[in-house]
């Protein structure tokens, strides 16, 4: 987590236009989204959004309250980094030669990543972890040449017992 960032886990109604409503609210109220992830939950009526946003306490409070006013928003949780499992996912296509292949595969192993596609002159790898870990990996392998990069926004779940979904 970078300075000033915070994590919102938002349970929303799963129907068309909800993503626009949420992202529209952020831009209209002049708030920043650093990353946003959305997918349907175990209950097909609801989707879960994980939003990483930035701002001081006042901004945090305003974002939470304004989101709460949207009819499609069912529940909002402000997650604290210490009590949260946070994961990002990275897919990276790296340029390889016979000489560099060994070193690259070794670094993928150190970062607990996996090689998912293999070619004469390229390797595609996936790495999962917190933001800093992915940044470190990208920085290291950039010396070999990055051909393509695809990185998903953060997913976050509170540690410990199940989140209270009684609001449903």
């Amino acid at each position: 987590m970078k300075k000033g960032q915070f994590i919102l886990s938002v349970l929303v109604a799963n129907h068309a236009g909800v993503l626009t409503r949420i992202s529209g609210l952020f831009s209209r109220r002049n708030f920043n989204i650093d990353s946003l992830n959305v997918a349907v939950t175990e209950d097909p009526l609801f989707s879960r959004m994980t939003i990483i946003a930035r701002g001081d306490e006042a901004v945090q409070e305003q974002i939470t309250k304004q989101l709460d006013k949207l009819h499609d928003v069912k529940k909002i949780e402000l997650l604290t980094p210490e009590k949260t499992v946070l994961r990002e996912h990275l897919l990276l296509k790296i340029k390889v030669t016979k000489k560099t292949r060994g070193e690259i595969v070794e670094s993928v192993n150190i970062f607990r990543g996996r090689v998912v596609d293999f070619n004469l002159d390229s390797l595609t790898v996936e790495v999962t972890g917190e933001s800093d870990k992915l940044d470190a990996f990208i920085k290291f392998v950039s010396q070999f040449g990055i051909l393509e990069m695809c990185r998903a926004g953060a997913l976050a779940v509170k540690r410990g017992a199940m989140a209270d979904d009684s609001d449903k």
């Binding site: 626009t20 305003q62 709460d68 006013k69 499609d72």
Partner: protein, 553 residues
Amino acid sequence: MKATGTKVIIETLIEQGCDTVFGYPGGAVLNIYDELYRNSNKIHHVISAHEQGAAHAADAYARVTGKAGVVIATSGPGATNLVTGIANAYLDSSPIVAITGNVALPLLGKDSFQEVDITGITMPITKHNYIVKDVNELADVIREAFKIAQSGRPGPVLIDVPKDVQTAVCDFENKKPEKMERICSVTEKQLEQVAKLISESERPYIYCGGGVVISQAGEEIEKLAAKIDSPIGFSMMGLSAVSADNPYWLGMTGMHGRYASTKANSEADLIIAAGVRFSDRATGNKSRYTQYAKVVHIDIDPAEIDKNISAYFGLIGDVKTVLTKLLAKLEKKTHTQWMDKIQQMRIQEGIQFVKDGVMHPKDIIEKVMEYTDENTIVATDVGQHQMWVAQYYRFKKPRTYLTSGGLGTMGFGMGAAIGGCFASGCKKTVLFTGDGSFGMNLNEMATAVSNNLPLVILIFNNGVLGMVRQWQNTFYDQRYSQTTLNRKTDFVKLAEAFGATGFRVMDIKMLKEALDTAFKTQGPVVIDCSISQDEKVLPMIPPGGSIDNIITR
């Protein structure tokens, strides 16, 4: 029973207690209008000259009656013409339900004739909106729309209904509308803490906003003022909440507020703010605004607490409910010194006011007040005339004052006067407007004449866009860019062309004669009042300024 989508729409509207709708027919709502035709004994439809006028009328209807105003428009341009009206209702928390037709489902997304994504367009200016793609969901969507529009902090809701959903058939049963609960999440402990804060205050100031009007909490505000011996100031939206005859009444505060109200606001040690959102027009420089004062902020919308002004205490709930609970905890107080000071401010305010010229706007407003009573609905447009009305018209009853506060919509007035007039049971209704604002939606004169509405329309005619000109005069070295209209429009002939009556008045004597006739005439009357183009709205606090920078002459 089996019903078509349009039957469902009309039946649920009736079920929700709707007896008047405003709108304009078109291709995508032909079926709805066909159903309206068959139910014209149950729902009275008022056709406007332009959908914007219909939207403002529905907004005004809601402001006067307290229940949702309904507006119907066709797809495409019909729907986009509603946009300003919906935004206006959103900014002023007015409950309207807008129903738009859209092209049939298979044509959606194909750039079909008169197709726009009106739910996408209105997303940021509605409390919620829908596109209904399944006729089975239509009835409950309309019920939910009314509930959302009218509950909590009210606001507009739009329902877009594709044409084939209107003709599709489904099962339908009538349901009773849900009762609206008054929300209050305030705890005993909070109330005690606020009561303590109030008892310690030496210079309290009650700041009353539109939420007090919506919540019908004027009586509680008056009780509060009497109990803690505190003056009452108002945001523009709050003006009619308490009668101007109340001894604690100071009138509007802020950029063009009355001097005593703004001065007292800035010198208070405690601001008890009820149903306000601390607009930049009301506060000016925010750090100066709360320099000496702690703020107790009462509002039904939790997001308003700490949004613009940090509250020392936020009490979340319906204003009337919160105040009733708070009143029970308060001791009787007197603040002789503070009230003496307030009296001095009032005297100062009186001395400051200097008028010249033949017919000052204040004179016009005061003359009109001789003809109106406390129940008369008064609408305004936007600009200098609006500020003069806010400063000088003495409102006595809530829901009698229709003005565009948050959005500042020039052209609001004609639609608003029409909607307000219908809501009052077609009683005499007054519209104060300017030559600029009137020019924006004067097409609605046709609506007023067709319905023989008893509107008295006073045009404050200075031949210029006065408010912008005033800023150009004060802040732009008198470079009057595009504000000197001096149009050749003859408003008397124009009124007559529409089928109304028109007068041009140059002084108060002529105004009296015109008003004598106007208040006896059945249909709409336009009175074109000639005023000086250099008349300014005073006092004025420059944007971002405070009482320290007030311009009084």
